[in-house]
Symmetry: C2
Subunit: 365 residues, 2 copies
């Protein structure tokens, strides 16, 4: 085909649980939609499996990520590649879906090795807190690679989407609506509804901050406080997510928190996620066992994001003198480091005045 170069070519950078599901979603669309090149490259951080075979070779032979998404066919047009630079060759749509601590190193290696017209999207949850304030992953990618970078977040439990259960997601974009619509076409399926909103920071902060609220929800579960209290804590958490995001970025929109990335992801994470689970165990121990210890015991090597995010958020709050405006975020951190008992999560009476202050502060925007 003479215009083959004009097709959009996609690489998924990352091959964990969510990265593999993303590759599957994308691969089902690239074969159907003529604007995309069929092949989806997937960069694999190479591992040797217990049977001695390489992970990337197994993926290519069996069409399945036997380690991180066993039992699910990814599509024969997914091509695993352990060579990062080779995986992005000729690619102009870069999908970032690695643990957040690896992004900076990956971007360093990509500088000067991607197409000048490349665009990026980040599916990564988390942020880097630097002395000058928080740095969002999409901004890191965007600045290091000089590319436009959207984000995709939502109520997305990878294993449920892998078996094609109905779900939704939200794309956040800055200005380029056309690019956002292209990303939406790349990800959308009849069971995975994607909508796009012009609020990249709002969408990305939802994905990060919900893990702090999930810790609070898990504490409530561990204290056997019931669904009423849990719903109240989730609501207060959602309000603090919104207020924190708006104080950091005045462009953040209230409506974003009604999207899948907001209220729906919060619900999913507070009902079933690993942050919730470890926090429940922490509260049941009366705060006597540490989060580190419980993480090791319960998560088999998976990492807990809520506690570290709570610490990062707390640093931002302390730097700016905002602690009293965010009683839930502050309390989660102080419980996690043993300064307060788990029961403090529902002792909001003395915070009522502060909550009113918070509402006042937010109305200023």
């Amino acid at each position: 085909m003479e215009n083959a170069e004009e097709l959009f070519r996609v690489a998924v950078i990352g091959s964990g649980n969510w990265g593999s599901v993303a590759a599957k979603l994308i691969a089902s669309n690239t074969v159907k939609q003529s604007m995309f090149h069929d092949e989806v490259r997937m960069w694999v951080f190479e591992e040797t499996l217990p049977n001695g075979r390489k992970l990337s070779e197994t993926i290519n032979q069996e069409n399945e990520n036997v380690k991180y998404l066993p039992g699910i066919k990814l599509g024969s047009n997914v091509v695993a590649d352990p060579d990062l630079l080779n995986s992005v060759k000729e690619v102009n749509m870069l999908v970032f879906v690695t643990p957040h601590q690896f992004v900076e190193g990956i971007c360093k290696r990509l500088v000067g090795n991607i197409r000048p017209d490349a665009e990026a999207i980040s599916l990564i949850k988390g942020m880097e807190v630097k002395t000058e304030g928080p740095c969002m992953i999409s901004k890191l990618i965007s600045e290091m690679l000089s590319v436009n970078c959207c984000v995709l977040m939502g109520a997305n439990i990878a294993n449920e989407i892998a078996v094609e259960k109905f779900s939704e997601a939200t794309i956040g974009y800055r200005q380029d609506k056309e690019a956002a619509q292209r990303w939406a076409r790349l990800f959308s399926t009849p069971y995975f509804l994607v909508s796009a909103v012009p609020d990249v920071e709002g969408v990305e902060l939802c994905g990060t901050l919900k893990n702090v609220v999930a810790i609070a929800a898990g504490l409530v579960d561990g204290l056997d406080m019931g669904n009423n209290t849990k719903a109240a804590i989730m609501r207060i958490g959602l309000r603090e997510m919104k207020a924190f995001s708006k104080l950091l970025f005045s462009s953040v929109k209230d409506s974003t928190f009604f999207e899948s990335c907001g209220v729906a992801d919060l619900i999913t994470t507070c009902l079933g996620g690993r942050n919730r689970r470890v926090a429940e165990a922490f509260a049941r121990s009366g705060g006597k066992r540490s989060f580190d210890e419980l993480e090791t015991e319960l998560l088999q090597g998976q990492k807990l994001q809520g506690v570290s995010t709570a610490k990062e958020v707390y640093e931002v709050l302390r730097n700016r003198g905002w602690q009293s405006l965010f009683p839930l975020f502050t309390t989660v951190h102080e419980i996690s480091i043993g300064l307060l008992p788990p029961t403090a999560i529902v002792e909001y009476s003395e915070h009522a005045r502060n909550l009113n202050l918070l509402q006042g502060a937010v109305q200023l925007h």
Copy 2:
């Protein structure tokens, strides 16, 4: 005391589960706050208990509603009264908390028998659909009695509040902020945080419409679709609640849906309520057993509001030609009458276009 007449006097009209908890909350405040007369009158729809005693007498002797809230002391200043007109004598703060089908009859009897300066608040969920459109309970009370009527809604499982677990609630008021603040002082305790918003219709519609979403959530549970799908359905439901309310009343505010009456009550109701429970059983039967049959079997005389509200909402949608704008509300009704199978609740792909239309419609406001 010479200025005893100037104190605010409260009557709770209703003595079921939630009415008894409301009386307990109120009674704990009237004894502490000098603006209120200590005594809280509670109108009891008289019943004879299995032991031959009258319910109202038992409440007054034991300080406990042994039938609807056993094990909880209401406060010695709660006085049960089976005589409706006597219970409101000298009262200027009327708290309505009866099943919604009794309100009209009660108000008819109260006309001309209440103080001219009386104010009301409704804790009742549900609405009356008349040919000219829906009639909110607060409006019914307000018009029949010529009184200002606020509403109080929220994530309020009566039995959890009865044992003083942390919770929140929302008061909706029309113009009289001072009255709303007085109601907030009457209900607020350290474990029951009340905030007031100037959006009586929005708050009241939240309390009604959430039961339709709870049916949808229960269907998802019965189909074993997982938390991801459930969160997506709850989010779509919240969006339809917001859009429906705004189309009916242009004064309704988006921010109301972030309050306890909105997202928090929705979460509580979709996690644990009876609408959810019966809908789950309905889906597990493949739609073969009727809601009526399951209600009788599972609820021991308690009534399911979601199915009748879905029918009422559907009538409004049909009268105004709005069905395609509200795929979730429409689908819940069509499933409940056997027109669609339970699995239809997650078949939204063909509705995606309509959902976009919906967003367009709402943006017009």
